[in-house]
């Protein structure tokens, strides 16, 4: 359904994506795990049309995706960006309205968002900047759903959230997927991202090094030692040092 072929992208001399190819199948959750600086966010920004890859193709529904953010949204792909990027100066409801900019009748979407996230309904007139981190993440997800996307790209949704809230976020993603939205999830929080994923791949230094079902990846020895095990943090730090 959504296919990347040999994507390359570099920031100046730093090669962030080094020939990435994978496919997300319709209706599934695909998780991409990898350390800081492995190129996960760059990949998401390329798919969302915010960055133009230097080479390679991104094909969705048999047609290449345009390299501009608003056209990608028009094709039915929405990004919930890393760090959430809600509009702090707008109210909760206005944030949702922004998410549904291309949708004619936004009332249905807003109603659905408030059913899904009751708290957002209670705070609809409040400025989004005053919400807590977890609430902001929920708003960012709800906003992403406002354009009725067929594919939702989620970039580090658990970043900076308390563990209990992370569980909420992960359950929400699972719920959204069960309603028929294909999800491409990028996470540092590998264990939780793999639990709900149908397929997963591991990205290291701009390359996909492993692709399998979520369960298989979670059982993979090298993945366990790098991202899941007790020593994961240490190894992660080593990778970070290597990258630096």
């Amino acid at each position: 359904m959504l296919k990347c072929e040999n994507l390359r992208f570099s920031y100046g001399k730093i090669q962030a994506l080094n020939g990435i190819s994978f496919e997300v199948k319709q209706g599934e959750i695909m998780s991409i795990i990898g350390a800081n600086g492995a190129g996960k966010s760059t990949l998401m920004r390329c798919i969302a049309g915010m960055l133009k890859p230097q080479s390679g193709k991104i094909i969705y529904d048999g047609k290449p995706l345009p390299h501009s953010g608003h056209e990608v949204v028009g094709r039915g792909i929405a990004l919930v960006p890393e760090g959430r990027w809600i509009f702090p100066n707008l109210t909760v409801e206005e944030n949702l309205l922004m998410g549904g900019y291309l949708v004619k009748d936004r009332k249905i979407g807003i109603k659905r968002a408030y059913e899904m996230f009751r708290l957002l309904g209670e705070r609809k007139k409040q400025r989004a900047g005053t919400l807590s981190g977890g609430e902001q993440q929920m708003l960012a997800i709800a906003r992403g759903l406002m354009s009725n996307p067929k594919v939702l790209l989620m970039d580090e949704p658990s970043l900076g959230l308390a563990p209990l809230i992370v569980n909420d976020v992960i359950n929400t993603i699972d719920e959204i997927n069960k309603q028929g939205v294909t999800v491409l999830l990028v996470e540092q929080n590998a264990r939780k991202a793999l639990k709900i994923a149908h397929h997963a791949c591991v990205i290291e230094q701009g390359k996909i090094v492993k692709y399998d079902t979520g369960d298989e990846i979670a059982r993979d020895k090298s993945v366990i030692s790098a991202y899941l095990g007790r020593n994961a943090k240490k190894t992660n730090n080593n990778i970070k040092e290597l990258n630096n």
Partner: protein, 291 residues
């Protein structure tokens, strides 16, 4: 005397507000000061002048012609000068420098095209006056105030109540995120220039009606409007309006009670003081990459 000067100040201030809001709109989205704003004002004044001279003597129609000419010019400048730089994601300071260049080119082209002389609108609006509370109030001042306020109210309604306005408010926080919502940001920026240009056109036509029309009209008055926008806080629309009214009235009072010669000196002095003491102005937004 005082009421007369106050009304005069409010009228000048409301024209400053038209131009300052144009600065603020563009600044709020793009974080740079559009120094090519002045030629839109000048073209607005000339368009109104020629319309009134050669077509029909109706100020309102003249203003509309001014609006069309100025808005088209602003859009043209955006497309030709700014968009290529925006597409390359250039530093904001380069956009500002391009704007200065466009402004100098524009001023000189206008002198070549229309000569440098001063032109008076064929209908002398500034001579008529009515008596209110024993003070002679110029009809032109009332027209200026009413037209400016209506224009600013329309812009405010667009920003508060429409889908376009929501996108503008969102984009003033982040253009990138706004594009992720499905907004074509290049189109949005073009629309902003059309709105700012329209306001500049009204300002030009009104200035032409109150004073005279000449090639450096836009540059002279937009410099004042820039001071108002900085005073109110760059990027803030209410700030720009309040700053404009305050500066208009203070200028008027200074030229009446102190000296006409000191008026402009005072304005620029204010600019320097604000930049030294409170660069973010009355209600400005702050960000790093701005010019």
């Amino acid at each position: 005397m005082f009421i007369q000067q106050f009304v005069n100040g409010i009228s000048v201030g409301s024209v400053y507000a038209l131009m300052a809001v144009g600065y603020a709109l563009i600044y709020s989205l793009l974080n740079f000061t559009n120094f090519a704003h002045g030629i839109s004002v000048t073209i607005g004044a000339f368009a109104a002048f020629f319309f009134l001279t050669y077509a029909m003597q109706n100020l309102l129609s003249g203003i509309i012609m001014g609006v069309i000419a100025a808005a088209l010019l602003a859009a043209f400048i955006q497309l030709v000068a700014y968009r290529p730089l925006l597409k390359r994601n250039s530093k904001r300071i380069f956009l500002m420098i391009i704007g200065l260049g466009v402004s100098v080119i524009g001023d000189n082209l206008i002198i070549i095209a229309f000569s440098g002389r001063f032109r008076i609108f064929p209908v002398n609006f500034s001579s008529e006056s009515i008596k209110i509370f024993g003070a002679n109030i110029g009809v032109v001042d009332i027209i200026i105030f009413v037209v400016s306020m209506i224009a600013l109210l329309i812009v405010e309604l667009i920003i508060r109540k429409t889908r376009l306005g929501l996108a503008i408010r969102g984009a003033s926080f982040s253009l990138d995120t706004t594009s992720l919502m499905g907004v074509n940001t290049y189109k949005l920026i073009l629309t902003i220039f059309l709105i700012a240009g329209s306001l500049a056109g009204i300002a030009g036509a009104l200035l032409g009606a109150k004073y005279t029309t000449y090639p450096s009209l836009g540059t002279f008055y937009t410099n004042k409007a820039f001071i108002c926008a900085v005073f109110g806080g760059l990027g803030s629309l209410p700030g720009a309006m309040i700053g404009a009214l305050i500066l208009g009235v203070s200028e008027s009072m200074i030229s009446a009670y102190v000296s006409t010669g000191l008026r402009d000196l005072f304005s620029y002095f204010i600019l320097i003081v604000i930049l030294l003491v409170r660069p973010s102005g009355l209600m400005g937004k702050s960000s790093e990459n701005k010019a």
